[in-house]
């Protein structure tokens, strides 16, 4: 008791609190180093080698893997950029839907009475907890051109069967639809929490001023949840960039190679062709692109906020 009251020198106290903070961070840091940082550095190293998993020697070749990716005459060039283009298409189609429908569902659930709200929140969240292989099998059965549930239904109404997974643009519609149904719950939960954080008195004040529901949404809700919105947009973008299971299991990259996303090419290269060097180079380029996109999203959001403040 007596000791604790002794005044510590400021420097000592600082050092001590820094040490405590560091101890708190340590477990995370250890995990980060072991499972993220080290593999990343090792991946960079592998990408600079001609690394075939079965070869005894893995000669250092500098940036040759990267120059092959950017050489238009190389098969690797087509593999990378066609895959990247298909991935970008998926990101562009899925992210707006994941964000807008997620927010809409959150708003809808928040206006429900308490008890039912919890029930529906659980119902909408459950698909997120199911693995991608199960989701894909469910949708394969629903969407089957000739014997699927959906087409049976459409045909009984007198429509022609729709080639959901074998023709564009239906293949993209199906993949995006399945993804939205699968992962929507996560965004919804985050939005619900964000909506609960918006101070109630702002709504009350605006009601007194005679604001409509739409005006409240635009001028109070959206600005209040902006940081969460940014988080959801960035995490959804990253998740969509990493799309693999749905096209791999549902369309096998078809029709033709139109839904062959970049990760499918990289995984094939790494584990079927055993070309770990080239696969690592592609994976690193892909992460650089993802980091770039996230930074741009961050910048745009910040600029908007500053613009708003200035006004």
């Amino acid at each position: 008791m007596e000791e604790a009251r002794l005044p510590m020198s400021k420097a000592k106290r600082d050092r001590r609190s820094k040490l405590t903070s560091f101890l708190f961070v340590l477990p995370y840091l250890a995990m980060f180093l072991a499972f993220l940082f080290f593999p990343l550095v090792y991946g960079i190293y592998i990408s600079l080698n001609d690394y075939n998993l079965l070869s005894k020697e893995h000669p250092f070749i500098g940036f040759a893997n990267y120059t092959r990716i950017f050489n238009p005459d190389s098969a690797m060039n087509a593999l990378f950029f066609e895959g990247l283009w298909n991935t970008i298409k998926f990101v562009v189609f899925s992210v707006p839907l994941l964000v807008i429908i997620g927010l809409a569902l959150a708003l809808l659930l928040n206006s429900l009475p308490g008890r039912i709200r919890g029930l529906f929140r659980t119902i909408y969240f459950i698909p997120y907890a199911i693995s991608v292989s199960v989701i894909s099998i469910i949708f394969l059965w629903i969407l089957d051109t000739n014997s699927g549930l959906l087409n049976n239904f459409l045909m009984s109404l007198g429509f022609d069967p729709v080639p959901w997974l074998t023709r564009q643009p239906f293949a993209w519609i199906s993949l995006v639809g399945a993804t939205v149904w699968w992962t929507l719950g996560f965004n919804m939960i985050i939005f619900i929490n964000a909506l609960n954080e918006v101070p109630e008195d702002l709504y009350e004040a605006s009601s007194i001023d005679g604001a409509s529901a739409w005006q409240k949404f635009i001028h109070i809700t959206l600005p209040s949840i902006r940081p969460i919105m940014l988080f959801v947009v960035i995490t959804s973008t990253i998740a969509s960039f990493n799309v693999y299971g749905q096209p791999y299991l549902m369309t096998r990259g078809g029709p033709g190679d139109s839904t062959e996303v970049l990760l499918m090419g990289i995984v094939d290269l790494a584990f079927e062709q055993r070309e770990l060097g080239m696969a690592s180079a592609m994976a690193l380029l892909m992460s650089l692109i993802m980091i770039g996109v996230s930074i741009v999203q961050f910048k745009i959001s910040n600029r908007n906020q500053e613009g708003r403040k200035a006004r």
Partner: protein, 429 residues
């Protein structure tokens, strides 16, 4: 109220953890002996050998039966059998080779993989082992050929698994066809298919897949046309035999209309299981699914759908020995392989046909089930994947072309020319 909420929270967290954990559950090695594999591997004891196999499907227990039978039959040697899940199999093999640790003493390898591993010099040539306990003539010559590269034998064949032909006997009866008589050639095939098709009832003669297992079907028809996908160091995707094969498959959909359009992944299997597809082609591994579905089906060699000759595309399972292995264990390995050669009847029960003459020429084999003898009937004219490095990279453009042409989204010649160009580029690098 508050309490139930907390418990609900805990419950769902547990559920979530369980589901997530289950997703990652099927990786790694399953040790069938129940002991810890780490200690057994690499032990200096030359009487104990480790065997890896990708038989994580219904075929696993049959192989286990053979290994158990061997272990019980003598006291000198012990085989420690480990199943590695099929999807993880070559990943595990590659990592073991790469790290030069935890290598099994003996492993099962598909015929189409042997070339790649032999080229990388990681497989032991078995030529010097042939002649005493195991000899070449104990196996079907095509089995030995499928496990050889340039005259060097790298594998002892377990089975050969070609494409098979299945038909729905009930549908044959209804269409006025003889339910015990599968078609023998292209003319009969088309004639039967037309008789079986009843579009108004969503019923078809033969549903043409647009994806897997075209990897088996398409090369089969090309071979029957007298063609080859790879010859004289070049891919032959624009040769007449290849073009004709694709045009024939396409005509089943568009000209004869015995197949629905826009068949998706596994769509042809679903329709066959539902009794809405009269004829079907797939590998021997489908036996379990057909049996479970309860359809009244028959099985036969693939009819001659090509214009020139009998032929069928096949793959195989072979026992191979890694080059880095312990030479002192060779006695145990040859002793075990010789036992398998004589006692592989259990493997036939899985619907496969062992490549060992002692089995497929025996009377018991003819009665083991309906399927395996039909598999063995095709042994004499099977064709395997060509011995080319990166053949996988050459076939994927071909399968894309087949997919687009059969979906009616690209002209046959145009699609094949594009595939030819992509595949040549991939093989050049």
């Amino acid at each position: 109220m508050k309490r139930t909420k907390t418990w609900l929270g805990i419950f769902f967290t547990c559920l979530l953890t369980f589901v997530l954990a289950a997703c990652n559950g099927n990786s790694g090695v399953v040790d069938n002996e129940g002991g810890d594999s780490g200690e057994k591997e690499g032990s200096g004891d030359s009487s104990e050998i480790t065997l890896w196999a990708p038989f994580s499907g219904p075929d696993g227990p049959y192989m286990k039966e053979i290994v158990d039978g061997y272990n019980d039959s003598q006291d000198e040697y012990t085989v420690n059998f480990q199943i590695v899940p099929q999807t993880e199999y070559y990943k595990n093999v590659d990592l073991a080779i790469n790290g030069e640790s935890n290598m099994p003493d003996l492993l099962v390898m598909h015929g189409d993989q042997i070339f790649t591993y032999a080229e990388k010099d990681v497989l032991r040539s078995l030529n010097d082992l042939m002649g005493e306990e195991i000899t070449e003539d104990e196996y079907h010559p095509n089995g030995i050929e499928g496990a050889s590269v340039d005259g060097e034998i790298y594998g002892v064949p377990l089975d050969i698994h070609p494409l098979l032909f299945y038909w729905n006997k009930d549908m044959f009866k209804e269409a006025g066809l003889n339910p015990e008589q599968p078609p023998a050639n292209r003319e009969e095939f088309i004639e039967y298919a037309q008789a079986l098709t009843d579009k108004d009832n969503n019923q078809y003669g033969y549903v043409v897949p647009t994806l897997w297992p075209q990897e088996f079907i398409f090369p089969t028809i090309v071979n029957q046309n007298g063609g080859e996908l790879y010859k004289d160091g070049e891919v032959q995707f624009t040769s007449d035999a290849v073009v004709e094969a694709l045009e024939f498959e396409k005509s089943l959909i568009e000209e004869y209309e015995v197949s629905p359009k826009d068949v998706q992944q596994d769509g042809e299997v679903t329709l066959f299981l539902q009794g809405k597809s009269g004829m079907h082609m797939n590998g021997p591994w489908m036996l379990e699914q057909w049996e479970e579905s309860g359809i009244n089906y028959g099985v036969a060699p693939v009819p001659q759908l090509g214009t020139e000759q009998e032929g069928v595309y096949a793959n195989s399972h072979n026992f191979v020995i890694p080059k880095s292995g312990n030479e002192e264990k060779l006695d145990a390995i040859t002793n075990f392989l010789s036992y398998v050669g004589d006692n592989a009847l259990a493997w036939a029960e899985s619907g496969q046909a062992p490549a060992s003459k002692a089995v497929y020429e025996s009377e018991e084999f003819q009665e083991v089930n309906d399927q395996s003898p039909q598999v063995a009937k095709q042994f004499d004219y099977v064709t395997f994947a060509p011995d080319v490095e990166n053949w996988g990279q050459a076939t994927s453009p071909l399968m894309e072309a087949v997919n687009e042409a059969l979906l009616g989204q690209k002209d046959v010649k145009e699609a094949l020319e594009e595939a030819q160009q992509k595949a040549s580029q991939a093989l050049e690098e």
